[in-house]
């Protein structure tokens, strides 16, 4: 299974980081990270997304120098760095709990990496001031971290990780402790900072919407392996397996058997006997058990008019949930007890529970997953 899109050699922009066959195990039996081959391009925002225990944080720790790979190599600017201690890597790191030094003021915290590099006096002061301005905390230099709000502490951590101008910044769930509104605000802010400074960022999160919002590319981790590495759009539309399909966005995963092919379309039989058409994919063969992914928002109740050729299936409405701008319908159909359908609230007029209903969706919106 090779789902990782290998970057061809000699393309631009060049790779800043390369993981080559990296494996990490603590006991020699289980691998926390397995078969990791990943390149991070210069200037890109790459997110490692996955549930807890999927190996994404371990990968980040190995890149930061806090863990050593059991096997394989990590190349930073073409040089292997597995044996380089963190303090020699010149990588900025932002931690989930910020890890601000509690006994130092904000300015002292930011000056710390400069002192480590023997930058002191006026030069350091200028840099600290600029760093504070950059995160809109110009007036807070003399405060202690405990006197700041969570969002402000987050900004200080960011300023501290950027002040020594690292070419690469790593972030480990940096927004996890903030409330939703602040988190969304900071997402935008971090993205803007990354773009304006032109730095490379590797970002770890378990929040898929955060990953979709911020990233140039997303590596989806599961069971220590990268399941898919792609841009946000492609990841959502063309997930390469059931896990990615289920993890990114809401999804209906229908079991099916391929009956045959017809003009570039596969004919799939659902457990309840309904027949679906979906674009054929590489590797799909007649008689094969597959999964068909249908996103809830791509389905309409009744026969929607459209230029596309459509799949039409029948189902029984079990429950209807009102969410303001839209309705969520739980429908027994295609062998699923709870097929999820999301429709604009205005289209839900007259729908009641326990009523039979007809669902329609474009053939191109049904995606066959062979894994």
């Amino acid at each position: 299974m090779n789902l990782v899109h290998q970057t061809p050699i000699n393309t631009t922009p060049p790779d800043l980081v390369r993981f080559e066959g990296v494996r990490k195990s603590y006991d020699g039996i289980h691998f926390v990270v397995d078969d990791l081959n990943l390149s991070v391009r210069k200037g890109e925002f790459l997110t490692m997304l996955g549930p807890s225990g999927s190996g994404k944080t371990t990968t980040l720790m190995m890149l930061g120098g806090f863990e050593r790979p059991t096997l394989g190599h990590i190349l930073l600017d073409g040089r292997p760095v597995e044996r380089l201690p963190p303090e020699k890597r010149n990588i900025g790191f932002v931690f989930q709990n910020y890890a601000l030094f509690p006994h130092m003021t904000v300015a002292e915290n930011i000056a710390f990496p400069l002192q480590c590099r023997k930058i002191t006096g006026a030069a350091a002061e200028t840099k600290v001031k600029a760093a504070l301005e950059r995160v809109q905390l110009g007036a807070f230099g003399n405060r202690k971290p405990v006197q700041l709000s969570g969002g402000q502490q987050q900004r200080v951590a960011l300023a501290r990780a950027l002040v020594f101008e690292p070419s690469l910044v790593l972030m480990d769930e940096p927004l996890g402790a903030l409330d939703k509104q602040l988190r969304e605000h900071m997402q935008v802010e971090i993205k803007h900072l990354q773009q304006s400074l032109g730095i490379t960022m590797v970002y770890v999160t378990h929040d898929q919407s955060e990953a979709l919002t911020m990233s140039d590319r997303i590596a989806v981790f599961h069971d220590g392996r990268i399941q898919q590495l792609d841009g946000p759009r492609r990841l959502y539309d063309c997930p390469s397996n059931r896990f990615v399909a289920g993890f990114i966005g809401e999804s209906n995963l229908v079991d099916g058997l391929i009956d045959g092919f017809e003009g570039g379309e596969a004919i799939v039989r659902a457990p309840d006997g309904a027949v679906l058409r979906a674009p054929a994919v590489e590797g799909a063969k007649a008689g094969m058990k597959v999964t068909v992914l249908i996103r809830p928002e791509r389905m309409a109740v009744h026969n929607a008019d459209g230029p596309e050729r459509q799949n039409i299936v029948r189902g029984l409405i079990r429950e209807i949930f009102f969410l303001g701008d839209h309705l969520r319908l739980s429908i027994a159909a295609l062998g699923l007890d709870e097929l999820l359908v999301r429709i604009p609230a205005a289209q839900g007029e007259g729908l009641v529970a326990n009523a039979e209903v007809e669902l329609a969706f474009a053939i191109s919106d049904a995606r066959i997953l062979t894994a």
Partner: protein
């Protein structure tokens, strides 16, 4: 009294009985400590209550000759050297042992704590035999080495407890910002765990300052410490000067106790 509103009358009566019992136990804990204080101010050489006439004569006696003051000096010197050695060694070891990668943590910890557990006479006799061969009996160095071994568990226990609440990400953050291990320790880790290290140091000081048995076996007249002086005094002929010494020690240990209380409050406030 500290009972939920749903308490039954029987429960109330029981609670009062327990309360009386607890107050009695607390009195048993504290009252004997203070019996020495009035006696030390007594004019009378016999230990009688109520004190017939107050005077400072036993304190004057204490400070008159070299016998007691030399003991105080020796104790301070020994305890200070012990504190420095035990705190440095104990803090280093605690830093190692609290790391997740530390090998054989349980047996090592059991060994580091064992000086607290092994009967003091065995430490004393072993020290007497072993240090004698090295020519370290009747030297201050020998006493300091033995006392350091006894004081180390207290430092290890206090500092590892403090380190268990220390955020390892602070170390990682400092490393990622370019700090070498020494810089990490002195600029980030040590300031964060300083209250714990300081309480460990106070414990180490108190351990050495209070220690009698090892001092009895290992030292000669030159290094005679205050507790040894007191021990011989009580065993041979108990006299009121000992009460003066005991009262001053009581004040001193109360001060140390308050110092540790203040330190632990500080470390809690820093969290």
């Amino acid at each position: 009294m500290w009972l939920p509103s749903y308490a039954t009358p029987g429960e109330r009566a029981g609670r009062i009985a327990v309360l009386v019992f607890v107050v009695a136990v607390l009195a048993f804990l504290v009252a004997p400590l203070f019996v020495v204080v009035p006696l030390s101010f007594s004019n009378d050489p016999f230990f009688t209550f109520p004190v017939p006439k107050y005077s400072m004569r036993w304190y004057e006696d204490f400070f008159a000759g070299n016998r007691w003051t030399d003991g105080v000096l020796n104790s301070f010197l020994t305890a200070s050297l012990t504190t420095v050695l035990a705190t440095v060694l104990g803090t280093m070891a605690s830093l190692g042992i609290t790391r997740p990668d530390f090998p054989w943590r349980k047996p090592v910890m059991a060994l580091l704590i064992s000086p607290m557990i092994v009967p003091i006479v065995i430490v004393a006799v072993g020290g007497y035999l072993f240090f004698g061969r090295l020519g370290l009996t009747n030297t201050r160095l020998g006493l300091v080495l033995a006392h350091t071994a006894l004081a180390v568990p207290f430092v290890v226990i206090t500092v590892t407890a403090t380190l268990s609440t220390y955020d390892a990400n602070l170390t990682r953050a400092a490393q990622s910002l370019g700090a070498t291990p020494l810089v990490v320790f002195f600029r980030v880790t040590l300031p964060s765990i300083l209250p714990g290290v300081a309480s460990g140091a106070v414990f180490a000081f108190a351990t050495s300052f209070d220690e009698v048995v090892v001092a009895l076996f290992l030292t000669g007249a030159e290094q005679r410490t205050l507790p040894v002086q007191m021990f011989s005094g009580i065993r041979d002929q108990i006299n009121p000067t000992i009460m003066a010494a005991a009262s001053m020690l009581l004040v001193f240990s109360t001060a140390l106790f308050l110092a540790v209380g203040w330190l632990s409050n500080r470390s809690r406030a820093a969290k």
